[in-house]
Symmetry: C3
């Protein structure tokens, strides 16, 4: 069955049925990743351009691995050393890439809205790999995939997202997606790191960690970006760690069976300590594995690959 | 039938018969690019090294896409971070690459003559992807392919090349190739941007735009390199645009059916305005598509791939 | 027959039997490199991550070519622009990469011991592509492969290694491997470029070039790193060249049939002159070719690929 969406720009407007279909396909690709031969011929002959205007190793490699395992041809285009510096417009760059007869574009850009803009000036299928502070939908999909895999369902579960909500496209995509899936989301951060109208995301908001995590099924920590300290938004690392860093003591406030998640990369000793990152309830590395499977699912369902 | 040339160093000494054969093969690969599966097994098992000593995204990606669609193994070697900085000679670098048993080298270098030098110190097939102000032969081939595709022939057509002729390897390759194919080429630029002995290229020269474009079948705009302004070669952007930038008014000087071409990347608002870049007579994006097909043809004919 | 080792961290603890098995496999892959189609399906579907924390073109391309010729999926991860700069630990980076379900990691790092550390925190097979001043085992393997190919045996042969022994992981790996294979190794350098306890490597040591090379079957030159001149370790280039640079005069001290080797890149005019680099006894380019074959052998034997 085809998805209702033609592009993956964000989870704000993606239906429960589409999200479910992506998660179901991701579960199947997860099986493929545990085979000896992890490659399937699904997208053979298709070209996918990874258009990364922001530095990223983790997400780019995850997408590239997903593409190769679907037998697509990945082409990496990074901003440095490109025609960007020669004064070409984004529209012209993308229309040029499309004119080379490519099938899909995976795009990461520092400005919110760029993936949507690309759908307006090309005929290629667009997948958002992170745009400004807007959305990072494949991250939220892999997060929900991981929760469903571990806890058996999404509906009705309580999730606490702790950290720099204001600047986090991960928090935003999860807020949209999880509420669509019937989950109960609480965002927790110091006031300076909370957006003004968080409620419009359909989530609860608190500045108190114990309130957020005490009955959560899932606690997701976000990386505070330390450079924001100098902008007055961010308390000292020591203060942040004292109030929001997940350590052995604060883990006692959580339920024993709650999952600990993090989109990575981790700052050990800031938002979480080794005892939290490496404990049995931590599913951080499962998230990474599932990231490849979830991206394979999105590429497959939007790429119109032949069915196996 | 094999080509007379063994390497593609420039179009200066390439025969009409060889150019025709490349353009014919390019037309066939163009059909392949419009299939669902755009990959053919022609160069399976062959290794092509893309040796780029100058920054380039557009040309490198176009070659890499052509190589992958022929099922070759591309290996990208860029100057930054290479043994170049450790004092190794170009000859040693290339002989080392060749010793790894590669089949072809696609080379871009800031110095004219490097591709020819490489033929003298390696046994690999060399394809010039642009050398200094000398030649950029695959660009001229894709330009001629595009003209033939749109206008049905080359012989007898009038082409105006407008812009920084002095520093343009694109103009130079087109001048050689187009005159070989029996086309009538006029180069148009301010005096400071014209080479001293342009006539030796077998083309006409003028500083007056209306003279160049009024009866042309094709008007090809080149990107003036703005950094040359500081060297006194380049008038102000405003003056350049006034006299040589293609806008709605100057388009009225052209024939209605004349093609508008540009090798990219475009400086909108300098050498051409949106109304010229995006009008129905503009074939700029066709040039990009044809670039992949023309490069596939060159790689195929020089690479000795098995026939399909 | 499987190797005794599960990872290739260095040659210090690799048995004569394992080294022999790798060299035998390398000879077979050498045959493959001389075929028209140089690709074998041995590692199809396996993913190999090239994790390079130090700049390297030569070694990275050689590994990447070996991986592609075994039909593996290479993924390049370089330190610049990676999560390294976001404060992630090496352990977390590698566990993340492993979580994406990769099979092998080829690692180069400026710190000795990193490859061993990786075996402790991941389940992937680790191949050392150079770690600090510690080891560079695939280089020593390709060196021994080349000697055996040219001289028919290793046992009993005399090898002189000349140059910056102190900082050379190549010298160190060759010292371990060659003594294991029953070769007689002499290291030759100015006192400042010799390690304190060179004898512990099981080799002879001298500061006199004529003593080292006069009855050697093989003379291997190393690149002195010129930046060490400023640290007082390195005499002037002129003095180094006078005493240790291999030129026509010093070649007269060597046996006529002795091989001249160098791991590259070469500084012509410093450690060796053109008459030495390009003479019939020089096997420097054979080393490069054999590098691909030796790396294919290591990847194949450790990668558990299906037998052809």
């Amino acid at each position: 069955m085809a998805l209702e969406i033609k592009h993956l720009l964000g989870l704000k407007d993606v239906s429960k049925s589409d999200i479910t279909q992506i998660l179901d396909a991701a579960d199947k690709f997860y099986e493929v990743l545990n085979r000896e031969n992890k490659t399937v011929p699904t997208l053979r002959g298709k070209t996918v351009v990874n258009l990364f205007y922001e530095n990223s190793t983790r997400t780019r490699i995850s997408f590239e691995m997903a593409e190769k395992r679907l037998s697509a041809n990945p082409l990496n285009f990074s901003a440095s050393g490109s025609s960007v510096s020669k004064g070409e417009t984004l529209r012209d760059t993308v229309q040029n890439i499309e004119a080379m007869k490519i099938d899909m574009i995976v795009v990461r850009h520092g400005s919110a809205g760029v993936p949507k803009f690309l759908t307006e000036c090309t005929g290629a299928t667009i997948i958002n790999a992170g745009d400004g502070y807007h959305e990072h939908p494949t991250q939220a999909l892999l997060d929900m995939m991981t929760i469903r895999q571990k806890l058996g369902r999404l509906e009705g579960l309580k999730v606490a997202i702790v950290g720099d909500i204001l600047h986090s496209r991960v928090a935003r995509s999860n807020a949209w997606g999880m509420t669509t899936m019937g989950m109960d989301v609480t965002c927790c951060a110091p006031t300076t790191l909370l957006p003004q109208h968080t409620e419009s995301l359909g989530v609860k908001v608190t500045t108190k960690l114990d309130e957020a995590i005490s009955d959560a099924d899932v606690v997701m920590l976000l990386r505070p970006q330390l450079e924001r300290q100098t902008h007055g938004l961010f308390p000292s690392v020591r203060e942040y760690r004292t109030y929001y860093g997940l350590d052995r003591d604060k883990m006692k406030l959580m339920r024993n069976d709650a999952l600990i998640m993090h989109p990575g990369p981790i700052n050990r000793g800031v938002e979480l300590e080794a005892e939290a990152a490496d404990c049995p309830q931590s599913v951080i590395l499962d998230q990474v594995t599932n990231g490849v499977a979830a991206r394979m699912a999105v590429l497959y369902l939007l790429g119109g690959g032949e069915h196996e």
